[in-house]
Symmetry: C2
Amino acid sequence: MTTEDADELDRVVADVRERIDPSSAERARLADAAAALTGRVEEALADRSVTGDVVQVGSTARGTWLAGDRDIDLFVRFPESLSREELERYGLEIGREVLPDGHEEFAEHPYVKGEYDGFDVDLVPCYDVPAATDIQSAVDRTPFHNAYLLDRLDDSLAADVRVFKRFLKGIGAYGSDLRTKGFSGYLAELLVLEYGGFESLVEAAADWHPPVEHDPESHGSRSFSDPLVVIDPTDPVRNVAAVLSAENVARLQHYARELLDDPREELFFPPARTPMTAEAVAAHLDRRGTVPVALVFDAPAVVEDQLYPQLEKSLDGVVSELDRRGFEPLRATTFASESGEERDAPFDRAVVFVELSVATLPTIQRHDGPPVYVRQHATGFFEKYADAGADVYGPFLDGDRYVVERDREFTTARAFLESDALFDVALGAQVQAQLEESYTVLVGDEVLSLADEFGTDLRAYFEPRP
Amino acid sequence: MTTEDADELDRVVADVRERIDPSSAERARLADAAAALTGRVEEALADRSVTGDVVQVGSTARGTWLAGDRDIDLFVRFPESLSREELERYGLEIGREVLPDGHEEFAEHPYVKGEYDGFDVDLVPCYDVPAATDIQSAVDRTPFHNAYLLDRLDDSLAADVRVFKRFLKGIGAYGSDLRTKGFSGYLAELLVLEYGGFESLVEAAADWHPPVEHDPESHGSRSFSDPLVVIDPTDPVRNVAAVLSAENVARLQHYARELLDDPREELFFPPARTPMTAEAVAAHLDRRGTVPVALVFDAPAVVEDQLYPQLEKSLDGVVSELDRRGFEPLRATTFASESGEERDAPFDRAVVFVELSVATLPTIQRHDGPPVYVRQHATGFFEKYADAGADVYGPFLDGDRYVVERDREFTTARAFLESDALFDVALGAQVQAQLEESYTVLVGDEVLSLADEFGTDLRAYFEPRP
C-alpha cells in the first residue's frame, strides 16, 4: 500500500478509536464497580470455612472492551480439594450474596448472573488448578487466558485489539457462537499480539494462504485440519480457532484487502440493513426465475448454540435430498426469529429456505438395473419389471445393463416436503421433533409471507455480500 | 433346463429350420448360377495375359445362407505382383464382361455388382496372398475365412449356423454394420463352431460373464478390451467381434435365457412392429411428463456405415451439452428415414431426438470463483463481478470461495438448439455441414409431426424392449 493509503488507514483507525475507546469516566466507573464486587466476594469467602480468591477476567479486565460494553466477569477460584458439589454450592451461595437480585445460569457449572451499578455481572466458580492443562472444566482455563494476555497486552496493543474486534463486528465475523462461527475475543487478542498490531495483522491476513498456523509458545503437540490454527498458549493441544469457519477466514481476508485498498470507516460500522419488503422479494424471485420453497415451524425451545447447528444439519439434509431427487437446489439458508424471551425460548419461528432450479420433474425416472451377465440378479430384475406391465417402460438395454423407466416418487418439491419421506432425512433432533408435530410448506410466491417476520434475513439472502 | 424344455426347444428349432433351410431346388439353382458365373470369370481370365483364379465365398458358398437370400460372392484372385491399378483395372474389366448390366461399387477397391438369374452377384478382385496375415487390403482376407469354415462346417453345423443367424436376426443383433454393431455372419459361424452347435452356444451365452474370450487356433498375440473376443483363426491380431457392442452381447444373453426358459418360434420371427401414430406418441409423452426435443435435418448423402456413426457422435455431443446445461436428458436416440435411393443418397431425413426432464431453467445460475486466498486471481474475480452491478448477484462467499449468480446463457433447450452454441458441440462432420445449412427444432408436441415419417422408430423408442 502507498504512503497515502497508509495515512488514510491511520486516519480511519483514529476515527474508529474515537467511537470505541472507553472514556476515562467509563474506565473509572467500571474499575470502581469491579473493585466493589471483588470486595464483596472476598467478604463472602472470609465468612466461610473455605479458602479461595477472586479474579476479574474478560475484556473489561484487560482493557480490550469496546465503549459501552457492560460486562464484568468475576471468577471465584476454589481449591481442587473441593468436590464438584461443594464448589457449586459455595459458588451459588456467594453469587446470591454478592448479587442478591441475580439469577442462576448454566454453562459447565451453574453460576450467578446479575446487575450491579448498570453493569452485567457474571460470577463464576472455578477450580484453582496449577496450570491450564490441569483443568477440571472449561471455565478453569479462563483465568490462565486472562493472566497470559494481561502480561503481554500493553495499552497500545489493547487499543489495537479493540480496533480489530470492531472490524470483525463490522464485517460480521466476530463471535465464536455456533451461528457465527467467527473469531472469539481471545482469538482476536492473540492474533493482534502475534502480528504486533491491527494494521500488520490486516496486512498479513490479506495474504494468508490457509492453513495458517501460529503457536505463540511453540509448544503445540498435535495437528489440526482447520484453516486457521492458533495453539492456545496455555494448552498445547487446543486450537483457539477451532470453531472458526473457512468462510470467516475468507471474509477477514476479503475485508482486509478492502480496508487496505480503500480505507473507510464504513467497514467498521456498516449501515444497518433494512428488512426487505414482500414486493422486493417478489421482484427478486421474478428476476431470478427460481422456485423458492420453505419449511416454516416453531423453533424448539433451545439456545442459539443448540438451535443453529440443528437448523444447519436439517438444512443440509433437506438440500441433499432435494438435490438427489432432481430439484437442483441453487442456494439455501436457514433463519430463526428472536422471541425476546432470552432465557427460556429465545427463538420464535424457524425457517429452512431452499431456492430450487427445477419446479416439476417428469412422472417417470430412469432406474438402472444390474448388468445382464449377473444372471441371477439380472433375471430377478427383469422378471420383476416385465410383470409390472404398462406402469413401467422396459426393461430395455443400455449397454450391458437392464434399465427401466418407472414412476418417480415425487414430481414436485412440495409433494416431497409434505410427505413422510422428509423424516428419512437427517434432521436436527429437536427440529425433527418439532416438524413431527407441525410445520408449513411454502412454495413460490407463498414465501412472500415470510417478509413480515424475516425481512432482514431475506435482504441478506437476496442481496448477498462477502 | 428340464428334458421337457429341451424337447420343446428341439421342436422350435425344427420349426424354424422348416422356414429357413434352403430347399434342394434353391440349392441346385444357386449352385448352377455360381458354376456358370465361375465359368464366365475363368473365360475372361483366359482371354487376358494375367493369371488368376476365382473362388466363391460367403454364406452361399458354405451352405450357411437362409432360404431366400440371393447373394453370390465371387472373389477373383490375382497375383501379388500386380500393381493396385492393374488389379483394379482387370477386376472391373472382368466384372463388366461377366455382368454386363452391373455397376461399380466401392469397398476398399472398386468392384462390380450385378444380377444373374435372379441372384445378386458381387464380383470382387483381390490379391492371392500366401496367408491372411499378408493381406494388402481387407478383402484379401475373405477367401481365408471361407476356406477355414468350409474345412470345418459339416451339414449339421451349417444348419445350426442358419438357426443362430435367424435367432440373431429375430432379436435384432445380426449384422456388423455400424448402425447395428451386432454379430457378423463370420462371427456367428465361428461361435457355432466353437460351441459345437446352436443349443450349446445358447446355453453358454446365457451364462457368459464378459469379457468372454475365444481363440480357436490358440494363436492370439495381442489383447483386446472388447466384451467378446474371438481371435480370427486366420489372423492372430484380429478380434472378429471388434464391432460388436456390449449391448448386443447383453441382448444375446437376455434372449438366450428367454429361449431356454420358454422356447418359442416368435423369438426367431418376431411380429413386425407397426408405426406408432401421433396420438399414441402424444399419450406416451403425457404419461411420461417429459420434454421431447428434436433436431430434424436432411440426411447427408452418405451410406449407412458413414451416417450412423456421425448421427451417434452428434447425438452424444448434443446430449452431453444439454446435460451440462442442466436440462437433464432422460433418454435419447437418432433415426433416419430411407430414401429408396440406395446408391447415392440412401437416407432422406435424419433426427436427433432427446427427451429432457427439465423444460425451463432459472434466469440465473451459480458460478464459482476462485478461493479467496488466491489473492491475485480472487481480486480479479471480485472486481470483475463487483462492477457488474445489478446484473449479477454477489460476489458473496461460500466457504473459502467467491461465488456469483449471473445470467444463464440458455433457459430453454430450444434457445440452445437454435443458437450458434449448437456448433460448439462435437458433431459428425457431414451432419455439422448439413446443420450449418438448415435444420428444424421441434419441442414438446411439435415432435408429434415426426410420427408420419418415423412411426416405427417412435414405436421402438416408446415401447422399448431388450
